[in-house]
Chain length 155, copies 2
DNA sequence: AGCACTCGGATATATCTTATCCAAGTAGCT
DNA sequence: AGCTACTTGGATAAGATATATCCGAGTGCT
């Protein structure tokens, strides 16, 4: 999995707190990561329709919908794509004892297992929203931290 | 995920049928894949203790235990390693509003979600054994194919 | 002891991820 | 309306990982 997924999720939680547009440079500075590279992740999220960008002065990124309506899977798929990790190359149709193609209409057991595991993984990620992440973070952080973050974003 | 996982699984099903040691070259020819690269996967499986190699004339690879005692997860972890796909870099401890380290004893919600999804994925793969794959394949292939495969391996 | 055959690890190549830069575009100000 | 300052967007290098290959070490058989 791309390391950029972690950055993207952190940005989502931060954006859910800020009501004003936040530029990419500010998001990068807040998390102390490469601004140029974070910009790429934000572009991917923009294409996926998770965030909306406004250019020009006082522009930046805003979430397109409520944090409770964005799942972790949405972010992961925006960054890493939607194709499953396992890519079957139809080995059974090759070699000296190749299975004839008409016998390969149904996916074999290996493909089924991999597909099932991939689905379980995605179901797990789909069960949690950005709002859940924020709620959990609020429970752990020190009191007043949210206000300080908002003030820093506005400066 | 490594593409070699698919090859490794196919080799396991084939090895479970052959009672004699099968050399890497023969396994590669059977599946029509690169012999040099398949050798690497077999080495990884050997290190993981899934197969045992015997050198010299009439040598090759044999499964170390019954096919029912080898899970798909065993093979996947042998090839791709055991580390989870998501690698947390502790972003929350960086930047101008970094969370103090003593506040970060427990993993955050993001890390928990990723860990949970990874566990669900592994549980899915652990639930199926090589014996299950073979049984499913036997149900789909043409009658006599198993005997032909055994004969080809012996030649 | 000699020989043919096999595995094992060290070595190139290709592909993808990571990181960066500069040009196009937009909103607000004069 | 024109200008300026700011921000995004896609195109472009550097690095890391996965893929593919080769030859030497080791083993059993003759
Ligand atoms: S469908 Fe199954 S048997 Fe065919 S190549 Fe893919 S993993 Fe192998
Ligand atoms: S533990 Fe959670 S908050 Fe900390 S860096 Fe990892 S993902 Fe981010």
């Amino acid at each position: 999995m791309s390391g950029g997924v972690e950055w993207a999720l952190h940005c989502c939680t931060l954006l859910s707190r800020a009501s004003q547009p936040v530029p990419a440079v500010k998001l990068a500075e807040y998390h102390d990561v490469s601004p140029s590279y974070l910009a790429k992740q934000l572009q991917l999220m923009s294409r996926a329709g998770l965030v909306r960008s406004t250019q020009g002065n006082a522009g930046g990124y805003v979430l397109t919908r409520d944090a409770a309506a964005i799942t972790v899977l949405d972010v992961v798929e925006a960054i890493d794509g939607v194709l499953p990790a396992f890519r079957c190359t139809e080995v059974r149709q090759r070699g000296p004892l190749a299975t004839p193609a008409e016998q390969c209409a149904d996916p074999c057991a290996i493909a089924k297992v991999m597909d099932s595991a991939d689905r379980a993984w995605r179901d797990s990620l789909r069960a949690v929203t950005i709002a859940d992440l924020v709620a959990d973070a609020d429970r752990q952080i020190l009191p007043g931290a949210v206000e300080r973050a908002r003030a820093w974003l506005a400066s």
